[in-house]
């Protein structure tokens, strides 16, 4: 198991480096002159040239790329923001926890509400709760989250004055962003739980349980539910990725100074060190979460754990999978 975890974490390294190279290359070809952006329109050509050399923009592509990778991965110092002059690292240290907290809260709410809803729907298939749940989830999957958040701001913030609509000064500020951000997640979790649950309910061992006279409640919650949850764990990675992406927009709507705000202002101001490091860090977070999901998956499902623990079997298993 430990071998497997280490192996998975090691495969992250080339991926993260590749992401860094891709981002660097994309940003390298962004039209526009950062030096002009920093010094303003009236700067002379001489000043611009000096600024470009100072920022290392006059170097050829490969030299710049090498310096960037060296600074980021070996010195662990993503540089300073070109516009504010603050080190990116100090900014990130404050902002990363905020964005992660927002994403985890939206995800947790999505799981905590979505899965019970899905189970209720599946247990009462084709009855009223099921239909309500399905109509509701279809609607909330379709409503654009940023629009929903704006409407919530209008209703609860500007009309009713119940909740603050910007900043993060108290816990109340988190209610609107977390609730609005989790609604699409709740909806998709409910749908996926329902279909996973229905699939398990139709399987043979549930029929056996019914035949030997177990109470319906015990069958549904003790026997069917744990197995229905297994496919849902694989979806948690994608779910968290969506929450991370969603927090980029939520932060902008609710003016929360996290990574999303940092990234979007970095993009509009052509602050390359900021953009690059935020993207690489988010890619690392994303990759680690995916590994974690796989590990949890292995712990929950003994069949998969067995595969990982027995390396020879593991190889044979994958070879079979590949051939199939």
């Amino acid at each position: 198991m430990i071998n497997y975890i280490i192996k998975r974490l090691l495969t992250l390294i080339p991926v993260v480096i590749a992401v860094a190279i891709v981002i660097f290359t994309i940003m390298y070809f962004v039209p526009g002159d950062p030096a002009k952006n920093i010094l303003g329109q009236d700067a002379t050509e001489e000043q611009l040239q000096r600024e470009r050399e100072l920022l290392g923009l006059a170097d050829p592509y490969f030299v710049q790329l090498g310096k960037f990778l060296y600074q980021l991965f070996i010195k662990l110092n993503p540089g300073t923001s070109w516009l504010s002059g603050f080190p990116v690292m100090t900014e990130l240290r404050v902002r990363i926890p905020r964005t992660l907290l927002l994403s985890f809260l939206t995800m947790a709410l999505g799981v905590a509400v979505g899965i019970p809803l899905g189970v209720t729907a599946a247990v009462n298939q084709n009855k009223l709760p099921d239909k309500l749940c399905m109509i509701g989830s279809m609607t909330f999957i379709s409503i654009p989250d940023f629009w929903l958040a704006l409407e919530a701001v209008i209703l609860f913030g500007l009309r009713l004055h119940w909740l603050p609509t910007f900043g993060m000064s108290s816990w109340k500020c988190w209610i609107l962003p977390v609730v609005c951000g989790s609604l699409p997640g709740i909806a998709s979790n409910a749908r996926q739980t329902r279909s996973a649950m229905l699939e398990v309910i139709r399987s043979d061992y549930v029929a056996t349980a019914k035949a030997k006279g177990l109470a319906p409640g015990a069958i549904k919650y003790k026997h069917a539910l744990p197995n229905a949850l297994i496919p849902l764990i694989t979806m948690m990675g994608g779910h968290l990725a969506r929450c991370l992406g969603g927090s980029m927009i939520l932060e902008n709507i609710f003016s929360m100074p996290g990574m999303g705000m940092y990234l979007t202002t970095g993009i509009t101001q052509r602050d390359y060190p900021v953009v690059r490091s935020v993207v690489v860090i988010l890619a690392i977070v994303f990759g680690v979460v995916m590994v974690l999901v796989d590990i949890v998956y292995a712990f929950v499902d003994p069949r998969i754990k067995a595969i990982y623990e027995n390396q020879t079997f593991n190889l044979a298993f994958w070879r079979k999978r590949k051939d199939a």
């Binding site: 629009w147 927009i249 509009t268």
Partner: protein
Amino acid sequence: MLNSEKEQQGRGKKQSQLREVLKRLMKNKTAAVGMVIFLIIALASVLAPVLAPYDYAQMNLDETFQTPSREHLLGTDEYGRDYLSRILYGGRFSLGLGLCAQLFSLFFGVILGCFAGYYGGKTDNLIMRICDVWQSIPGILFTIILCAALGTGWINTVIAMGLGGIPGNCRMIRAQLLSLREREFIEAEHAINCPSGKIMFRHLLPNAISPLIVSSTMGIGNTINGAAGLAYLGLGVQPPTPEWGALISAARAQIRYYPYLILYPGLMLAITILSLNMFGDGLRDAMDPKLKN
């Protein structure tokens, strides 16, 4: 599945798969309603020049921020432009964006996926590793970066949204082809020395495309949603263009006093995406009855 096959044989005529799918689709009320709503919205957008009471860009500074009235059914915005006309024309930009971006990613995804799945070996490995890196960047983040690199505007948003969808489509086609290429009819093609291109695109692709059609239908809705989000962040379509997300973005400054400017384009977005999702769900069930719960 078996039943319907028996039925067909019993009747002595074989219906085409398309007609079978359409029949199942029309039986599904949700899907039919979704399709009708979407067709109405699409038609309204196509016929916008006929239906719109005013020119969408015509400013009238005497009539700014009019509440809905008989002259302006949905009121006017901060430059006195008729909001109904702007929303009607906005449908063209929003729907067109969703459609074009999906076609873009479908086109390149299918080509890459066909090569990976058909040739296998090194080609497959290379394409799949590229897809791995591509997909290791969370979707919206990748689109945001591409938007930053390509710049704002309608075409650039189409490309940015489309590029993000390529690896998913590529994987799906590849997986289909991996199993299909071992089938007898492909062996027969090889035996008669059919050119690779013809095998890939004439014989393998039609057999592999149906799950992609479903995912692309649902994808149109997601793309419209994502593009609206980008426009809201100021990275997608820019405000003078009446794309629905851009309309919301432009109306953000008036959120306190004229919230209806945010309400209407958002409603249109929600209804469009909802109808597409309803239709897509039904389409998936109709194409593969085994999956239906």
